[in-house]
């Protein structure tokens, strides 16, 4: 007996609207995506001191004390200073290399200490920190230009060159606990 071969229709999933569905999803994710990146001033806090631990001895000359009061006035090593002079003074302090007996012995030993009142506005404190970080960035940039002919930023992360510059001017910023005001 002969079985009659049926012409079966090809079983196909209609895929013409696939693109439409994909576009719809795409538009949704495009809308909810925020491309903006977080920016800010990075800092590493010192670890919690253990009990009965004395703070390490630091020579007076290696410490640059910056005091900011509630009115936003700045005192650097007991000298009233305006915010615009801060960066230059910090740079002078770090790059002293033992010349001036009041300033730091070497960039590795230099510590910048920032102390504020509890009432100091946050924006004033950030301006202050910005100037200090800016001073370090400029020094690192100059060193990177001298040695490698490139900016510090353009050096690759974790490369020897970057680490070298980093160790040349280690960022030692200390945030002192504010006075009870």
């Amino acid at each position: 007996m002969q079985i009659k071969k049926r012409d079966r229709e090809g079983a196909e999933i209609p895929s013409s609207s696939l693109a439409d569905i994909a576009f719809l999803l795409l538009v949704f994710f495009l809308l909810v995506t925020t491309i903006d990146v977080d920016t800010g001033i990075g800092l590493v806090l010192p670890p919690e001191p253990e009990e009965n631990q004395q703070p390490p001895p630091i020579k007076e000359r290696n410490m640059l004390k910056i005091l900011v009061n509630a009115q936003g006035m700045v005192l650097m090593d007991e000298e009233p200073t305006s915010l615009t002079e801060v960066k230059q003074k910090v740079k002078d302090f770090i790059t002293n290399r033992g010349e001036d007996p009041d300033l730091s012995e070497s960039p590795e030993k230099a510590i910048v200490s920032i102390k504020t009142d509890r009432q100091t506005p946050y924006s004033v404190y950030i301006d202050m920190l910005d100037e200090v970080v800016g001073a370090y960035e400029e020094l690192r940039n100059t060193a990177a230009q001298d040695r490698f002919g490139r900016t510090y930023e353009s050096l690759e992360d974790n490369s020897d060159a970057k680490e070298q510059i980093k160790n040349l001017y280690p960022k030692k910023i200390s945030i002192a606990e504010p006075d009870q005001g």
Partner: protein, 148 residues
């Protein structure tokens, strides 16, 4: 007079669209991967301060945010300065230690981004920082905008 017959092109004049879904799916996957859906509703008002020497945080997944600013009240009024982590306001600052310690266990490379209102006083920021030190989350970032 010579008569030129117009030659009609014999090739098909169609843009091939069969690969379009593939391209769209590729874009779709890119955006799905880069999207961070988690958003918090801010209960405190935070106006960022500005700074020049700022760095970018590339890995958003490492970041945990702490918001500090005046509490939002009804009718555009603001109240006292409060601290917000995730979706809750923290009344007892001592609780920050445990919250951040738990987060650090989950993500050892945690970066804490402090989003502080520019008019807040620095005292409360220090209190939070002391708690962070106790929790062991030492990498912090003061969130600022770029100065124009």
């Amino acid at each position: 007079m010579a008569h030129f017959q117009k030659k009609s092109a014999t090739t098909k004049q169609e843009v091939p669209t069969s690969a379009m879904p593939d391209i769209v799916f590729m874009l779709l996957i890119f955006f799905m991967v880069t999207t961070v859906l988690r958003e918090v509703t801010l209960q405190v008002q935070v106006d960022f301060t500005q700074a020049e020497n700022i760095e970018k945080i590339e890995q958003k997944r490492l970041v945990s945010y702490i918001y500090i600013g005046p509490e939002k009240l009804t009718g555009n009024r603001v109240g006292d300065t409060k601290v917000q982590i995730d979706d809750t306001l923290i009344d007892d600052l001592g609780a920050i230690r445990n919250i951040m310690y738990d987060k650090l266990q989950e993500q050892p490379k945690l970066i804490v981004s402090l989003r502080v209102d520019e008019d807040s006083e620095f005292g409360i920021v220090t209190d939070v920082e002391q708690e962070l030190r106790k929790a062991g989350t030492l990498r912090i970032n003061y969130s600022t905008h770029r100065e124009d």
